[in-house]
């Protein structure tokens, strides 16, 4: 899976939990939760669905490493390699 494919999946999953937003307009360094107004519950749902799609388990102590789109995509790339 390359960077573009990961982004596409991330946008699709974000859209599911925040259907009124346009995740694809996220800037690389914007805080995802703040920008799309996602609370802790929906944030957990998003991570569960990422786990289901990609089989990557994100431990809680890594939550700080995936706050922006760029961070998240890099993190996933690192995990699936």
């Amino acid at each position: 899976m390359n960077e573009d494919e990961i982004k596409k999946l991330v946008f699709q999953l974000l859209k599911q939990i925040a259907p009124d937003t346009e995740p694809s307009t996220l800037k690389p360094d914007e805080n995802i939760r703040d920008t799309l107004d996602i609370d802790s519950f929906d944030s957990l749902q998003f991570l569960v669905s990422l786990d289901e799609k990609l089989g990557i388990e994100i431990p809680e102590q890594d939550y700080g490493k995936i706050t922006t789109l760029k961070n998240l995509v890099d993190y996933i790339l690192g995990k699936i390699k």
Partner: protein
């Protein structure tokens, strides 16, 4: 005979529109079965029955708006079903005929139509059946008044337009807004609130949660909200006066059913209840949240989800405002508010440290309780949160 009434799903609900009966006369129902779907300001709600028996009669037509408390159906209670079984055997044909007739009306309009010898082309008939169009409602424009493919297609587009219009006439967030407006105005007019706040160190509770989550797969992870609900429920056992409703006098409730405020995207809140929260483990509370929050956001709740809350919790989560003073949801007598947590200098036992702290508030109904009870409650809640492993 038990009267099944339009239930009240909160002080703010005056009426509901029956959209669909899910049961028909002769059907057996038990507690928890869904009998109907009702459109309310809080969305399309599945209404459950609380009795066991056989549906006798459905008194309200689908599409009718009726006030809360209206008798909608009659149910023959189970105790008598044994006695009446003999009678029902002789009545059996009637019971059997009804559903069969309904099936014909619903599914085979085209066949029924043929019986009445009105002309319709095979293609038109097929399209009508596929799109659930009642041919008897169409005026044919073909030869000898026969119904053509065009006539059916016209009817389909008309039906779609009507359905679209119906959707438009119910802007969900506006409906919710007016429900909130009614309940909160009532609260502010009727309830003399008193307010208390307490700063609570939650470093230990969050550490316990992190430790618990590190051993769990992501699907089983706990959110702070589950812990907070459990701590409130456990504290309430010692403060029954706060777990109550006001109806000219305070009525203490035995079950601790915690209403949890879920904010909706696009505005508005909905408050599903976690029933018997004091008897549930933190895991069970988390499961209840996992089940209810997505359904609340999709506005697909069941009547029991919205019934019988005895107290409300509102939580701002991390990064939000520091303090929230709630408005009591009538007829309840208290609401607990959790502000956003943040790292703060916190002095304890003569030592100053950096701790994760939040402010917990209680708004109480002064008709039902006094500030001292509220204050004692917050002290107890603090103690519970300092011993998360015991929750």
């Amino acid at each position: 005979m038990i009267e099944f009434q339009m239930p009240s799903l909160g002080a703010d609900m005056e009426a509901g529109t029956l959209i669909e009966w899910r049961k028909k006369p002769g059907d057996a129902v038990k507690r928890g079965d869904i009998i109907a779907e009702v459109e309310t300001q809080k969305g399309l709600i599945e209404i459950e029955v609380f009795d066991e028996g056989i549906i006798g009669e459905l008194l309200i037509k689908e599409g009718t708006k009726v006030p809360v408390g209206t008798v909608m159906a009659l149910i023959n209670p189970t105790e008598t079903t044994l006695e009446t079984r003999k009678e029902t055997i002789s009545e059996k044909p009637t019971v059997k005929i009804q559903p069969t007739e309904e099936k014909i009306v619903e599914k085979a309009t085209a066949e029924k139509f043929e019986e009445r010898h009105i002309k319709v082309s095979p293609l038109a008939k097929r399209i009508a059946t596929e799109n659930n169009i009642d041919l008897s409602q169409i005026q044919g424009t073909g030869e000898d008044g026969s119904i053509t493919k065009d006539d059916v297609e016209k009817a389909i587009s008309q039906k779609a337009k009507i359905e679209k219009k119906e959707e438009k006439s119910l802007p969900k967030n506006l409906a919710i807004r007016s429900a909130i407006a009614a309940a909160m105005s009532k609260s502010n007019t009727d309830i003399p609130h008193y307010y208390l706040e307490k700063r609570i160190d939650i470093t230990k509770a969050l550490a316990w949660l992190r430790e618990a989550n590190s051993k769990r797969p992501i699907q089983k992870r706990l959110l702070p909200a589950a812990l907070l609900i459990k701590a409130v429920a456990k504290s309430l056992i010692d403060f029954p006066e706060l777990n109550a409703i006001w109806d000219n006098e305070v009525q203490i409730k035995k079950e601790i059913n915690i209403g949890f405020v879920v904010s909706l995207r696009g505005g508005g809140v909905i408050i599903p209840a976690i029933h018997k929260a004091s008897e549930k483990s933190i895991d069970e509370i988390m499961e209840a949240l996992n089940d209810m929050i997505p359904r609340a956001r999709a506005m697909k709740l069941r009547s029991s989800d919205l019934s019988d809350s005895t107290i409300t919790i509102t939580s701002l989560g991390e990064g939000g405002a520091d303090v929230v003073f709630g408005v009591i949801y009538p007829p309840q007598v208290a609401i607990i508010g959790f502000g956003g947590s943040s790292q703060q200098p916190f002095a304890e036992n003569g030592m100053l440290g950096i701790r994760t702290v939040f402010t917990v508030t209680l708004a109480g109904d002064h008709r039902a309780t006094d500030g001292l009870i509220g204050s004692d409650f917050l002290v107890t809640l603090n103690k519970q949160l300092q011993n998360p492993e015991a929750l």
